[in-house]
């Protein structure tokens, strides 16, 4: 995470662009209904806060969500929009250093 916020406007990043140790809030998704329902049942829904344990870097990523660790495929992670944050209550949010927000690919 960047040390100082550059812009206080909440931005949304695909989950696969977050880095290890980043903490973020799920802020939307471009998933099919089935995938959204599955993730929701697993505890990952809008407003869920999680920490990235292994960044995607083109491959699958791992997030810590409460007591659960979830491994997500790169395709799925690319469709999950997040709002990076510094604090557990998802307060001050900004883009990670050196990264620009981009839109996730459309759902198939």
């Amino acid at each position: 995470m960047a040390s100082e916020p550059q812009d206080r406007t909440p931005v949304r990043l695909p989950l696969n662009q977050l880095r290890r140790g980043d903490r973020a809030v799920m802020a939307g998704s471009n998933l099919s209904e089935e995938d959204r329902a599955l993730l929701q049942a697993m505890g990952l829904d809008e407003a869920s806060t999680f920490t990235v344990c292994r960044a995607g870097s083109g491959g699958p990523c791992i997030i810590q969500l409460d007591a659960t660790r979830l491994g997500l495929s790169p395709e799925l992670a690319a469709r999950i929009l997040t709002r990076p944050c510094d604090c557990p209550d998802a307060g001050s949010c900004r883009a990670p250093e050196g990264q620009k927000p981009s839109a996730p690919p459309p759902a198939k």
């Binding site: 089935e34 995938d35 329902a37 599955l38 993730l39 929701q40 049942a41 697993m42 505890g43 806060t49 920490t51 344990c53 292994r54 491959g59 699958p60 791992i62 810590q64 409460d66 007591a67 659960t68 660790r69 979830l70 491994g71 997500l72 495929s73 395709e75 799925l76 557990p88 198939k108």
Partner: protein
């Protein structure tokens, strides 16, 4: 405990309880603890997933427990969720459960409560088992089951299947289970009900497990690393297979020895004839030929159960998904495919690790392409014939067989996933459970369950197939050929001379001559039997179909009989070619290399041998594998496809190989 223990009232029938819970919450550990070996895997019509059913008598409460597959919600469009819905609605076997046991992980209360909410509306009495309370306590959490019981309006007890704690109170809670009251049902519809309930019981969802676990972080950093994780996985699997090959060796020999002794005893106790042959060769020989794989199956499932229980297997699937997804398979498919190197039977059975039905089916269909240990004998024979003087070329050819099998499996997987099994795969969302010390008891019970399933299959479908195959190979009985009769007469004559031999040296010479003549007579008789049997006649009839591969009628019969099991090829061809069978591979290979066809050309010319080797790498020649595929897929359609596809690919590849070698001047 939420409900005080009361004196149990006598039960007329056991309380039928459906166990519902998220994956990895310790539900099956509770089931195993209560039922022990009094459980079996149940396949329900129309379902591709399984549940386990068992009976228990705990604290005076008789229970019939149904361990449903772990689900994140019962209303998802997934096979395991559908099975749960069907069970809760009484559609599985026509019986509604008397009560539901919702198993909730104390370290993940919010997710458990969401599941509770989704099943609360079922008009059935409910009780809650709170598991992982030890882990919650180690994370500084204190959850009071009584407060949770009050919040949910149903009995709630802390229980630990591994340690065996809380089992009797759990049985009492099930006896006292009650329907979720309308007030709780109404409250649970509120959007914040889960968070508020968690707050009331443990003080907020973010406090649960939010602290970083350094050990988990360190282990995950290694086990899920793209390169290091793959190396760890390969090393772990290598150890598993080394253990399987080494440790299974002596029980396999024991089974073979016991079957041989039993067959010998039955043969000596019964008069010679069809019934004796049926029992000894058909029933005992057939079942022993399949049951001999039981030690490998037990070891594989025991070790996989331990690995799964540690939490490692989920990490391995995560790492391998990166590789396997390129071939349309999930990361979990790597374990069944690797297991198939030992034997396709445990490989196919271990495909149960794969959650998506299409992914699982694709894995089952391609697993037999992988070179199993039964192929090794044929590879050794044909490679020795092909490259008798070059260990390097022989080694390369041997390695090439393994590579060809693996490539064929992966390419077939790509093809099937894009055609007959086309459709969206379940996206990889893997829960990585906490690392734990594995439970030996659970691993033993899982192994016991898998072994029972396998033995049941071996005793029914496989037995029937073996009897049919034995019958067409052994009947009709052929008379001994004239040459064999003449040889037997010479044996008698030599035996007479032996009785009056003047010295020991002459006796030894005559005894050796008698043995050689007798062996030759037996080979001639066996060859006549092979040729006259239904299988032999079939071989002669279909010989034109195999002629493009360079097979004459003897090789055709040997290939046909090897569809029972590949290892049969060697014994059949040594009989038909008139060479003696021996444990010495090189000697057998040399004798077969000298064998000729009716026109005087070599039986095993280079082009035919190369084509035959490719054929054996790719062809489906294992009836037990087809029977297990039928059992695992619930239909004969898939083993039929497996057989036709693999044999078709094998035929075409063998033809191409032979043509290529011939074009390079490799006829001799």
């Amino acid at each position: 405990m939420a409900t005080p223990a009361t004196q149990p009232a006598p039960q007329a029938v056991p309380l039928r309880v459906a166990m519902v819970g998220n994956p990895n919450v310790g539900k099956t550990s509770l089931f195993n603890r209560m039922c022990g070996v009094r459980a079996k895997t149940a396949n329900f019509p129309g379902s591709t997933v399984e549940a386990r059913v068992g009976s228990a008598s705990v604290g005076g409460v008789d229970l019939e427990l149904v361990d449903l597959p772990g689900v994140y919600a019962v209303d998802l469009d997934l096979p395991e969720s559908k099975l749960c819905r069907d069970c809760l609605a009484g559609r599985l076997d026509g019986c509604m459960p008397d009560a539901l046991l919702v198993v909730i992980d104390a370290t993940n209360l919010a997710r458990g409560l969401r599941l509770f909410k989704s099943v609360a509306s079922v008009a059935r009495p409910v009780a809650v088992a709170l598991t992982m309370t030890d882990l919650a306590q180690s994370r500084g959490l204190s959850i009071d089951p009584t407060r949770l019981s009050v919040a949910l309006g149903v009995p709630c007890v802390a229980a630990n299947g591994r340690a065996g704690s809380g089992i009797e109170p759990l049985a009492a809670a099930l006896r006292d289970a009650r329907e979720v009251n309308p007030q709780v049902l109404a409250a649970s519809l509120a959007p914040n009900w889960v968070d508020e309930t968690v707050n009331a019981v443990v003080g907020g969802p973010n406090s649960i497990g939010s602290e970083s676990d350094k050990w988990t972080d360190r282990l995950d950093a290694a086990f899920t690393h793209p390169l290091l994780g793959a190396l760890v996985f390969v090393a772990a699997m290598a150890l598993v297979f080394l253990a399987i090959f080494r440790l299974a060796e002596w029980p396999m020999e024991l089974i073979e020895g016991a079957a041989g002794a039993l067959g010998g005893w039955v043969a000596s106790a019964m008069p010679e004839g069809a019934i004796s042959d049926l029992l000894v060769q058909g029933v005992i020989g057939g079942v022993a030929g399949t049951v001999v794989f039981l030690p490998q199956i037990c070891l594989l499932f025991f070790l996989l159960a331990l690995l799964e229980d540690t939490g490692y297997l989920a990490r391995a699937a995560f790492v391998m998904d990166r590789v396997m997804c390129r071939f349309g398979l999930p990361g979990q498919a790597f374990v069944p495919l690797l297991s198939s190197h030992a034997c396709a039977l445990p490989g196919i059975m271990s495909a149960r690790l794969i959650p998506d039905p299409k992914d699982r089916l694709a894995t089952i269909l391609v697993a037999p392409f992988v070179s199993c240990s039964a192929r090794v004998g044929v590879y050794v024979l044909l490679v020795s014939i092909l490259f008798p003087d070059s260990a390097l070329l022989a080694g390369l050819a041997f390695a090439g067989c393994y590579a060809l099998g693996a490539i064929a499996a992966l390419l077939t997987a790509v093809l099937f996933r894009r055609t007959i099994l086309k459709g969206k795969s379940r996206p990889m969302v893997l829960e990585l459970p906490p690392y734990r010390i594995p439970s030996l008891r659970s691993a033993f019970l899982t192994t016991y369950d898998r072994a029972l399933v396998f033995l049941k299959n071996a005793g029914s479908v496989i037995l029937a197939i073996c009897i049919v195959m034995w019958w067409i190979s052994a009947y009709p009985k052929a008379d001994a050929p004239e040459a064999a009769v003449a040889l037997e007469a010479r044996v008698q004559a030599v035996a007479t001379q032996l009785e009056s031999a003047p010295d020991d040296a002459t006796k030894e010479t005559l005894a050796a001559e008698a043995d050689a003549l007798k062996a030759e007579a037996e080979v001639l008789t066996a060859r006549a039997q092979q040729e006259q049997s239904f299988a032999g006649r079939l071989g002669n009839a279909v010989e034109p179909a195999f002629a493009p591969l360079g097979l004459d009628e003897r090789l055709t019969v040997a290939v046909l009989t090897s569809f029972l099991a590949r290892e049969v090829f060697r014994s059949t061809i040594t009989v038909l070619a008139g060479s003696g069978d021996s444990d010495d591979d090189m000697r057998v290979a040399e004798e077969l290399k000298r064998a000729t066809r009716s026109d005087g050309t070599p039986l095993f010319d280079r082009a035919t041998s190369a084509g035959l080797l490719v054929f054996f790498v790719l062809a489906m020649q294992c009836l037990p594998t087809l029977a297990v595929t039928r059992r695992e897929t619930g239909s004969w359609k898939w083993p039929a496809l497996q057989f036709v596809w693999m044999s078709g690919v094998a035929y075409i590849a063998a033809w191409i190989t032979r043509a290529a070698v011939l074009s390079l001047g490799g006829a001799a």
